[in-house]
């Protein structure tokens, strides 16, 4: 059981890094609390595999510290970190039975057979592996093998954390959700720190209580799936999470708010005040396709755009519209009227996010900051 702390951690594959671009991991402070279910989510090349290798001990960071329960482990090899890993491809001993696979780490530790038997039975129970215990591993299906891989990690009492690296890649699509459910149950039962690395938003959001979104060697948001959806704290999170992602529009400051072309978007006094303090920042506003409000007709100060395209996805539609030269996507429910040509819309204030240099501008000065130290 362990809390994993990354303390002023950075990593460069270059011996003499000359600038931020030479870093695969830019300096970060981050805590994975003991017993949490976490995901590390990002596109290929964002640095998540490098970070995973640093946590597991395959790679020693060039700067900063990795701490397990306060103890620096930078130089400890993987086998001394008591970390279990589950990879994309299941790692099992094909010639052994499922029982012997599960028993392997325990026998290595010199446990007596009575203990081994009771531990293996306990884990087999949890993973529904009982009917397979005496089968040879090579005769198992991919999902069964992956459960055996997980079981080998869980069977040891001294495991401080389990790291998953895209563990469902080779699993049949219709079986994936069952394994996802199993993972959640295991987490609830075992209270072990788990970190799940993936590029897939569904894998991450389903498994994790909190997700660290990585982009360009940095964690740009650490939040619940709901927070990533409702309040992306970086434009990349807005873009990357959701299908389609957030609408992002380049804007400049103006009296009472921000503008693009001839369209003015008024903002609250608090937000205007925050923006006044950031005169040089590049500004964007963001709103998700789910949150743009479409009116039945002209209404008060609704904005007026033009319908460009409607994509019918069966039980909902994605409307693409042009507003003052800017393309926007809006999600329409099945029974919602579909506008023809002209479309009247507004951006509800609670869902309109403002970004300065790609980071969310919080309206309330005393809003709780993301503490990641």
């Amino acid at each position: 059981m362990a809390e994993i702390r990354l303390h002023h951690l950075a990593h460069s594959y270059s011996k003499t890094p000359s600038g931020p671009d030479d870093y695969a991991i830019r300096e970060m402070n981050h805590i994975w609390e003991q017993g949490g279910a976490y995901a590390l989510l990002g596109p290929s090349g964002c640095g998540k595999s490098t970070l995973l290798n640093i946590i597991s001990g395959l790679l020693s960071p060039s700067e900063g510290e990795v701490q397990f329960d306060g103890k620096v482990v930078n130089l400890l090899p993987p086998e001394e970190r008591n970390i279990a890993q589950v990879f994309q491809f299941p790692v099992v001993y094909d010639t052994m039975t499922v029982f012997d696979n599960l028993a392997f780490p325990l026998r290595n530790q010199g446990l007596n057979e009575a203990k081994v038997l009771s531990k293996v039975n306990e884990i087999a129970e949890v993973l529904d592996l009982h009917p397979l215990l005496h089968k040879k591993a090579k005769n198992l299906t991919a999902d069964e093998k992956q459960k055996v891989s997980m079981g080998r990690g869980l069977v040891r009492d001294d495991v401080s954390a389990i790291l998953f690296d895209e563990p469902l890649t080779v699993i049949d699509p219709h079986l994936k959700w069952k394994l996802r459910r199993k993972l959640k149950q295991i987490h609830e039962q075992f209270n072990i720190t788990m970190v799940y690395v993936t590029h897939d938003q569904l894998e991450a959001s389903t498994f994790a209580d909190k997700i660290a979104v990585m982009y360009g060697g940095q964690i740009v948001q650490f939040g619940t799936p709901r927070e990533l959806f409702e309040r992306p704290s970086h434009t990349f999170v807005g873009y990357f999470i959701g299908s389609p992602g957030m609408n992002l529009i380049d804007v400049t400051r103006c009296d009472g708010g921000v503008r693009f072309a001839n369209t003015v978007l008024p903002l609250s006094a608090a937000l205007n005040q925050r923006l006044a303090a950031l005169p040089d920042a590049t500004l964007k506003v963001g709103i998700r396709p789910e949150f743009v409000h479409i009116w039945d007709g002209p209404y008060d100060d609704a904005l007026c755009g033009e319908v460009a395209h409607v994509e019918d996805l069966g039980t909902y539609k994605i409307l693409t519209l042009t507003l003052d030269g800017q393309k926007l996507k809006v999600r329409l429910q099945e029974d919602q009227p579909v506008p023809q040509q002209k479309v009247y819309l507004s951006f509800p204030a609670q869902w309109l996010m403002v970004y300065a240099d790609d980071y969310l501008v919080e309206a309330a000065v005393d809003a709780p900051a993301e503490v990641t130290l």
């Binding site: 996802r180 569904l202 959806f229 019918d312 069966g314």
Partner: protein, 364 residues
């Protein structure tokens, strides 16, 4: 150009790969082949391309029998799952290669390559080599090569499957736009129902080498002629419950009873299978005829902006598709609401008896 398949059958080593396929595709159309892995999508495309010959049946192009004409003489392009490019050639030469083969003049080649590359937004990369490109750019290069030669038939075999979902979103939209102004027949194979919906055009559902249903995408989706079509063209799969209509009531699995509503009155007594789309089940009552069920949550799968909620009770295993993020712990008890006017009704043998009447969106 039109493409017609007449009773096309292909058997390999005694195994039936394509079973009596009858299909026709209009000039300038975009057509999706939808089916699970090994359902016959690739086999069918190879027959269309002329890479394989049918054991029986005919393939007609513009009315002419092409069954025995080899692929080289058919003016067909194909784009595969794996990004296939010539690694030693630049992007320009990769795209130009079919034109060079056809003996076009350099000026004409340059013009066509630039126009196609621009359309696919790789015009800035023409001097690079494929391995210096991202996966999405490599696949765009392969697509440009398929598009540049003005083939009468272009076959796409799951071209986006190896790309991440953000790229897929983008390329899917581009594909649709690319084909709007062409006379080419495009055939696009996918395992994903949502991709078929997004691409529009027509959809042909394949299962175990057989054509289950073929037609305009929206028609096939909204009026699946068999329960199998409904199951295959729905992600997550449509919820099915065995039930009975007797007298003035409907019962599901002998356990849940509700009064027969006007939509179901004309069907008649008997045993049926009732279907409800995952996106039609709600967490709050929204109609007078909602059927309330107490269930426990098996898992909330969250896709970022949507939630797939797997639930069950003693009789049913169901899945809900909800917009937005809904976080639930495993084994939480909740109530769900099934609008009974949105039920599909299938006969015991799988035939469609009734599809819910669509609420057409009002025009603003």
């Amino acid at each position: 150009m039109s493409l017609v398949l007449e009773h096309v059958t292909r058997v390999v080593d005694g195994e039936l790969h394509i079973d009596d396929a009858c299909l026709s595709f209009e000039p300038g159309s975009f057509n999706v082949l939808l089916g699970r892995t090994l359902s016959g999508k690739t086999s069918l495309m190879r027959l269309m391309a002329g890479l394989d010959k049918p054991n029986s049946g005919r393939i007609l192009m513009n009315g002419a029998d092409m069954t025995n004409v080899p692929v080289r003489k058919r003016n067909v392009s194909m784009v595969y799952q794996q990004f296939i490019n010539y690694p030693t050639l630049t992007v320009f030469e990769n795209i130009a290669s079919p034109l060079r083969q056809a003996g076009l003049k350099d000026a004409e080649i340059a013009e066509k390559v630039h126009a196609t590359a621009k359309m696919l937004r790789i015009d800035a990369l023409l001097k690079r080599h494929p391995l210096e490109l991202s996966g999405g750019q490599q696949q765009r290069t392969a697509m440009a090569r398929a598009l540049v030669k003005d083939a009468s038939l272009i076959l796409f075999d799951e071209p986006l499957v190896n790309l991440d979902y953000k790229l897929r979103e983008e390329l899917r939209q581009e594909m649709r736009e690319l084909f709007q102004a062409r006379h080419t027949i495009a055939i696009y194979a996918t395992t994903e129902p949502n991709e078929a919906l997004a691409l529009g055009g027509t959809t042909t559902i394949l299962h175990e080498g057989r054509v289950v249903q073929s037609g305009k995408t929206a028609d096939v989706y909204h009026r699946p002629q068999q329960v199998l079509a409904a199951e295959l063209f729905s992600e997550p799969p449509i919820n099915l419950m065995p039930g009975r209509i007797s007298g003035t009531e409907v019962s599901f699995a002998e356990a849940v009873h509700f009064p027969l509503n006007p939509d179901l009155q004309s069907i008649g007594e008997g045993e049926y299978r009732f279907g409800v789309r995952p996106s039609h089940i709600g967490l709050v009552p929204s109609n007078d005829d909602d059927l309330e069920l107490a269930v426990t949550v098996e898992l909330a799968e969250i896709s970022g902006s949507e939630t797939f909620l797997h639930v069950r009770n003693e009789q049913f295993v169901l899945v809900l598709h909800l917009p937005g993020v809904h976080e639930y712990d495993v084994d939480t008890s909740i109530l769900i609401y099934i609008p009974t006017h949105k039920l599909f009704v299938f006969a015991a043998d799988g035939r469609l008896i009734q599809a819910p009447s669509r609420r057409v969106g009002r025009v603003a």
